[in-house]
């Protein structure tokens, strides 16, 4: 047993909208609540330029402001935060549950998992090595570094195509590498891309590795039908290949996951582990929005309040 120990009624793992909504409700009901996050509070919304469809805001609100306000609201009702902190061990299977951070043990009766999802990496050689020096994940942030340059975009979904439209304002050309022979993006966006004179598309290909030669980025891609490898030399690479649930912390727990890795709950947000709930983007569900995350958090919090 560790020397430093702290008890809470509820520990929420993840400080995005789902976790913060849970915390606002439970803290207001005098349930002692600790929110833990490996980064800062706000989840994906803190990096969303503007949110235009969150009820109650007539004009679009900056995601950064919305996230800050959610955190302040939770703090106002007494929520404690442990941010930029990595959980190093946990036990969620007993009635009394605990997590450890830097040798300090935090014990509780209920746990809400609200870890959200993150952009998927390709996990191929060179990807992490050249992040920031040739490989990017954000058109708005990095597009202008590639003014009048030739680039590659990996992906064919909505985010890839929308980011490509933005990049087209800067670059000389885009080669899209897509694993299927049709774009998955909405037709209106896909059509704009396919008809654009600066765009060419490499269908049914997947990157296998990235290298840097001088100032140029080299992509080796495989034709998924013929297995042939092609080599493309460009100035930069942007990767937009969807999202993955953040479940690494829980992989060794006997939780039920969907085939895509999302945590399965019932309509009360209960997982198959007693006293453990899952809310927000990490939960298996059809729609992932700020409003649905907040709704999940509300349901879980009311269950915790009822059972505490």
């Amino acid at each position: 047993m560790n020397q430093n120990s702290h008890f809470f009624d509820l520990i929420i793992i993840g400080a995005g909208p789902a976790g913060l909504a849970t915390a606002i409700y439970t803290s207001r009901a005098s349930i002692s609540t600790l929110v833990i996050d490996q980064s800062s509070a706000g989840g994906q919304i803190k990096t969303t330029h503007q949110v235009a469809n969150y009820p109650g805001f007539v004009e679009p609100v900056s995601g950064y402001e919305l996230a800050r306000n959610m955190r302040k609201q939770a703090e106002k009702y007494g929520t404690k935060f442990k941010l930029a902190s990595e959980i190093t061990a946990m036990n969620l299977e007993e009635v009394e549950k605990w997590v450890e951070i830097d040798s300090t043990r935090y014990t509780c009766k209920h746990v809400v998992i609200a870890t959200g999802s993150s952009p998927r990496l390709l996990n191929i050689p060179g990807e992490l090595e050249f992040k920031g020096t040739g490989i990017s994940y954000c058109a708005t942030c990095d597009g202008e570094f590639f003014k009048d340059k030739d680039i590659i975009v990996v992906g064919g979904g909505n985010s890839a195509m929308e980011e490509s439209l933005l990049l087209l304002q800067y670059v000389k050309s885009i080669t899209v590498i897509h694993q299927f022979d049709v774009l998955q993006a909405e037709k209106i966006t896909a059509d704009k891309i396919m008809q654009h004179p600066k765009v060419s598309i490499l269908w049914s290909h997947e990157p296998r590795k990235f290298e840097k030669i001088g100032e140029k980025m080299v992509t080796v891609a495989e034709n998924l039908k013929t297995k042939e490898l092609v080599t493309l030399e460009r100035d930069g690479i942007f990767i937009f290949v969807g999202m993955l649930p953040n479940i690494d912390l829980f992989k060794n727990l006997p939780l039920q996951f969907s085939p895509q890795g999302y945590i399965i709950t019932n309509e009360r947000m209960e997982t198959n582990l007693q006293g453990v709930y899952a809310v927000g983007d990490v939960r298996d569900k059809p729609y992932r929005q700020i409003t649905t995350a907040v709704g999940d958090g509300t349901v879980a919090s009311l269950e915790v309040i009822r059972k505490n």
Partner: protein, 113 residues
């Protein structure tokens, strides 16, 4: 204008004075974008955890940010933010693009311990 709770560096002279008068300084130079905001937030949290380090931000697009943009350590950078760690007035580490809390913690251990 960066809307963060960090102290801002606005001029070359301010930066020079900061790194001359403080042994350990970390400056995140960026915009209010999705790759930059998490780094500012982590700096904000770490201000309490590492009181011996001066954490600041600087707006990437102001003319005086050339003092960071033109550093040799940033020559190959093409992702925001540019994050620079100074010790005794000298650059000891520079990173490009978003970094996690763990990555920043590891850098702090590496260059400031």
């Amino acid at each position: 204008m960066l809307r963060t709770n960090l102290e801002h560096v606005s001029t070359k002279e301010e930066l020079q004075e900061l790194i001359e008068n403080n042994e350990k300084v970390a400056v995140c130079c960026g915009r209010m974008g999705p790759m930059c905001i998490p780094v500012y937030d982590i700096f904000e949290i770490f201000q309490d955890e590492y009181p011996d380090i001066q954490f600041r931000d600087m707006e990437f697009d102001i003319p005086d940010a050339s003092v960071i943009r033109s550093l040799p350590e940033c020559r190959s950078f093409n992702s925001l933010p540019f994050t620079i760690y100074y010790r005794n007035g000298k650059v000891v580490k520079a990173t490009s693009s978003i970094q996690s809390a763990k990555q920043i913690k590891d850098i702090i251990s590496e260059v400031f311990s």
